[in-house]
Symmetry: C2
């Protein structure tokens, strides 16, 4: 009998973003695998094993969970945000492709979650209200020249741009370099949303422009949305302004 593996997205930050499907998937597992900070968000259950691993060990974590399932167990890999967006689902697929035949016979469910850009956009108004792209600034896994080419194409074609991993360990200056590039391509008044630790007690969100945006406090918990030329800022009374991209965007 072959086992079961769920790859479960918890959404960012706190428990408000957890879906019913994610709750059910976590409840039915006999072993959880994940980065320690994500596992800490799941209440312990009697008889449910917990295998914490470092954030950089995606391949080993995927392999361990698949082996648990292949041995007949019910494994769940816990992911922040959505497992399909710069997260564990691709690592698991890679392990399935290159692993033993038994991995390709497993019952596998991927449980989507609220990815960071959706949570940040909701806090800011509707910056993703029209065509947009999501781009990782980590150059651990691709050359910086390719990141520059994608930023250039996205700016030129008028996509709103969501930037993940703006300050990777390998290139802490990533967001600074990206802003410098974008300032040469887009108006200085382009709205920029800089959000950190969204959904956590220390959540911080700032509405800036390309001219005013300072990347100094950016880290791996930061997500940035750079507007298109159609994106607008609406002042509000006693509240953070709203940023939105009209559906009738040119």
């Amino acid at each position: 009998m072959s086992g079961y593996l769920a790859i479960v997205g918890l959404g960012p930050g706190d428990e408000r973003y957890v879906t019913r499907e994610a709750e059910d998937a976590l409840a039915s597992a006999d072993a959880l695998f994940g980065y320690g900070a994500y596992l800490d968000r799941v209440p312990p259950r009697p008889g449910q094993a917990r295998h914490a691993s470092d954030n950089r060990e995606e391949g080993a974590r995927a392999d361990a969970a698949l082996r648990h399932a292949a041995a007949g167990g019910r494994a769940a890999i816990v992911s922040g945000g959505d497992p399909g967006v710069f997260a564990m689902a691709a690592s698991v697929c890679e392990a399935i492709e290159h692993g033993p035949e038994a991995f390709r016979a497993l019952d596998i469910a991927i449980v989507p979650g609220i990815t960071a850009m959706l949570a940040v956009a909701a806090r800011a108004g509707a910056p993703l209200g029209h065509d947009f792209c999501a781009l990782s600034l980590s150059d651990n896994l691709k050359p910086w020249e390719l990141i520059e080419r994608r930023l250039d194409a996205a700016a030129d074609a008028g996509f709103v741009i969501a930037l993940y991993n703006p300050a990777s360990a390998a290139r802490p200056s990533g967001i600074r370099d990206a802003f410098a590039l974008l300032r040469g391509l887009k108006p200085a008044t382009t709205p920029v949303v800089i959000a950190r630790a969204i959904g956590r007690p220390d959540e911080h969100i700032a509405i800036e422009t390309l001219a005013s945006a300072h990347p100094d406090r950016t880290d791996m918990s930061t997500l940035i949305i750079v507007g298109s030329n159609a994106t607008r800022i609406i002042p509000r009374n006693n509240a953070v302004p709203f940023v939105y991209t009209p559906r009738r965007a040119g």
Copy 2:
């Protein structure tokens, strides 16, 4: 005293995608506003009014809900998927910008949801595992030439492409034209995921290539993901193949 408005994403299809935050927001409203098919997904509550409107009446719906809140009520606009992705949040922001001053003093919360591309990607594997864009093919709100330019830029820069609204009433041939354009820009073997009614009892998902993809059965409940040149298909035993884009995508 000013009122309150929540714009609530239910996710696609059925109730498995509803978050805790969305449940709480719906429970605390005294009036719900929305497209009838979305309102039908929310169980009736005693004393909670329900105002159904047609799918095309976003502006009037936003205005009615904002007026209810400005009169001191607790309104909730119900949205499928995520309200910030080609949905109601941008319409509400537009109504706030152009409406009376009172709208800019309201307490407004946007509650994110699982947008269709995340649910479809989860079913298919991890096609959005690396840089991607989301593009609406509806040319009600923008010229078709701009859609072509964005498809061209996304293909050229190597983004995975999620296509929303592939067959609008105004341009039922949209997806056919988009596939024709993409066939000239990308390899015929590029994986394509075609999903309809995801999360509903009549859900259907097909793993194709650009060469084999036939848009004939496409409607407004269809979401399509076109891979990048790095996207791969993994055959599995007794299951739909997985489609994934490696994190180390070139």
